[in-house]
């Protein structure tokens, strides 16, 4: 649909956003967190690959044509720019009704910590719930996004400390402790984690065991390197693919219209070919 010129100079953080954008499917609905890479990825994809991919955010904005860039990284919801030219302005419960009904095909979340079943921690690290070492903001809307969307995509920097055998706290549900667990807790049977995209690799979830499985690595990374930077051993697909590089077209939108503060440029290493 559009020309693809692969970039020779970008950060791993930018690579992550562009990899997410390439996963966006036309003709689907996305429930995205209203800040950072999930929203950026969908907006890039709508421009370049998937014009009929539509999104809502937690504040109940339905299919906006946002006036980007936003005023601040936190201003991707509940603002006149983020809600511009939407088809409807609703509120939070109605957004969740759409997800519960099955309209939300995909959810995309950033996360602090994840385990082999795709369970997500955004509550605390270390200690326990009351006596934590580091505390985060809580799930926000992420537990409903993870609970109700048909396919959940998780995105985060590829760091050993983020991949753990068991998350310190399940803030948002993956496959919990294995096959059938989500259904036993009352979640929709057609929901759950679908992909994990990091700054170095892509994973899916093996259908029988519901465990994370390596399916692709970045062109500059090896399978061994990716696995050595994880706190558990994932399954590995028979044939591990090579991920596509970011394109100049994707990066131009990201750098000049979305992350104008350059935050994703500072994530991970700088890659230069």
């Amino acid at each position: 649909m559009t020309t693809k010129t692969y970039s020779k100079s970008f950060s791993e953080g930018e690579f992550l956003v562009c990899s997410l954008a390439k996963l966006v499917e036309n003709g689907r609905f996305y429930w995205v967190a209203g800040a950072g890479s999930p929203l950026y990825a969908v907006i890039i994809a709508r421009r370049l690959y998937a014009p009929e991919a539509h999104y809502i955010t937690e504040d109940g904005v339905i299919d906006p044509e946002p006036a980007i860039p936003f005023d601040h990284p936190f201003m991707g919801m509940m603002t006149s720019r983020s809600g511009y030219r939407a088809v409807a302005w609703w509120t939070m419960n109605w957004a969740a009704f759409l997800a519960s009904l099955g309209y939300m095909d995909y959810g995309i979340l950033n996360t602090v910590q994840v385990d082999p079943y795709g369970n997500v921690n955004s509550t605390h690290l270390g200690g326990n719930y009351r006596e934590f070492e580091r505390r985060f903001g809580g799930p926000g809307g992420a537990d409903a996004i993870a609970g109700l969307c048909r396919r959940l995509i998780l995105a985060f920097p590829h760091e050993k400390r983020r991949f753990v055998p068991r998350v310190d706290f399940i803030s948002s549900p993956g496959y919990l402790d294995g096959p059938g667990a989500r259904e036993r807790w009352g979640m929709p049977r057609d929901s759950g984690p679908w992909r994990v995209v990091t700054t170095k690799a892509t994973f899916d979830f093996e259908p029988e065991s519901r465990r994370m499985r390596l399916i692709a690595v970045a062109p500059w990374a090896t399978k061994e390197e990716v696995l050595s930077e994880m706190g558990f051993e994932p399954l590995v697909a028979e044939k591990v693919q090579t991920m596509e590089l970011p394109t100049e077209e994707e990066l131009t939108i990201l750098r000049t219209e979305l992350d104008v503060w350059g935050l994703t440029q500072q994530e991970g290493r700088w890659i230069q070919f």
Partner: protein
């Protein structure tokens, strides 16, 4: 109904009949003038120990002049419903007004969490949607609602929710208890003196909050004629009888954005986030709340006309907000 699992943590007990009694006794059906200022509304309607819910937040159409007044009056031991919040809980915790927090999203701020840990402030975890569905149940006058999330997480065990066998399908389903706060603070675009209010743009759960709460304070950017509501009933978001006080609060959402009216003060955001991450909240609150008698004085002395005009100019997108 078979109970499969219980969160087992404290929650504000639903009492639908108690709420009906409150409505019978306290909620005025007549059109009465409710116009007042922040100081009076907060003095009369926010009591120590109340469950307090605010709608939207400090960066986005929050009832910020009211929140500052709650801190200024040094209310105590409030149980705060912290849904969809970047910094509000951080402000309230630093202001010393918080007794307990229901967490939807309250930000990762070091100052906030150090104070929570050191003071042993109990927290519970509903998630944003858990909170808004609890408020919806409260707004419906029923004791609980079923949801298809929350159960199965560790957050569930920090709530009062239950997972039960649904008697209709036989499947597991999570029940969240209704939430009927003592007091709701809501910032609207327009209101009349009786309490009719219009909220434009997206929102979190302002109507649920107004219905579910015993006492409701509306602050509004503009006060408009009652006739305007009669002429355009479709635009009414919150009808007057739900509301106990109306505060005319131009720039009441400062430093946040109020969609279509003014932009957020990004310099202020950075100052505040810096204070929350750098343990400088005492200093911040002294400068922006305690050293000032009112919000009007804050706008005059700390913000200034030039900044206010700049923020107004930044509201370039007005379609749908008038």
């Amino acid at each position: 109904m078979e109970v499969i699992a219980e969160g087992g943590k404290p929650f504000l007990r639903p009492d639908p009949d108690g709420f009906r009694a409150w409505v019978a006794e306290k909620k005025r059906r007549e059109l009465v003038d409710k116009l007042t200022d922040e100081a009076d509304a907060v003095r009369r309607l926010v009591s120590d120990g109340d469950y307090l819910v605010y709608d939207c937040n400090y960066l986005q159409r929050g009832p910020n002049s009211l929140l500052r007044e709650v801190i200024r009056q040094r209310k105590r031991n409030l149980w705060v419903g912290g849904k969809f919040t970047w910094v509000d809980a951080g402000l309230l915790v630093a202001g010393g007004v918080v007794g307990q927090v229901d967490v939807g999203f309250v930000g990762p701020w070091r100052d906030q969490w150090r104070r929570v840990r050191e003071s042993g402030i109990p927290c519970y975890e509903s998630g944003n949607l858990g909170m808004t569905v609890r408020l919806l149940a409260g707004a419906m006058g029923v004791p609980f609602l079923p949801v298809r999330f929350l159960g199965g997480t560790d957050s569930f065990y920090q709530t009062g929710a239950k997972v039960v066998r649904d008697p209709f399908t036989g499947q597991a389903v999570t029940l969240v208890p209704a939430l009927n706060p003592d007091v709701a603070l809501i910032h609207a675009h327009q209101a009349d003196r009786y309490g009719n209010a219009r909220v434009f743009g997206t929102g979190i759960a302002h109507l649920e909050c107004a219905l579910a709460s015993k006492k409701v304070i509306i602050s509004a950017e503009e006060t408009i004629d009652h006739e305007d509501f009669r002429r355009n009933p479709q635009r009414t978001t919150i009808p007057y009888f739900l509301v106990d006080a109306v505060v005319h609060a131009p720039f009441g959402g400062y430093p946040g954005e109020v969609q279509g009216y003014y932009g957020g003060d990004i310099d202020h955001f950075n100052e505040l986030i810096g204070a929350l991450e750098g343990y400088r909240m005492d200093e911040y609150l002294e400068k922006w709340v305690f050293s000032l008698a009112s919000d009007r004085e804050m706008l005059e002395k700390r913000v200034g006309l030039a900044k206010l005009l700049e923020l107004k100019k930044r509201a370039e997108i007005r379609e749908g907000y008038r």
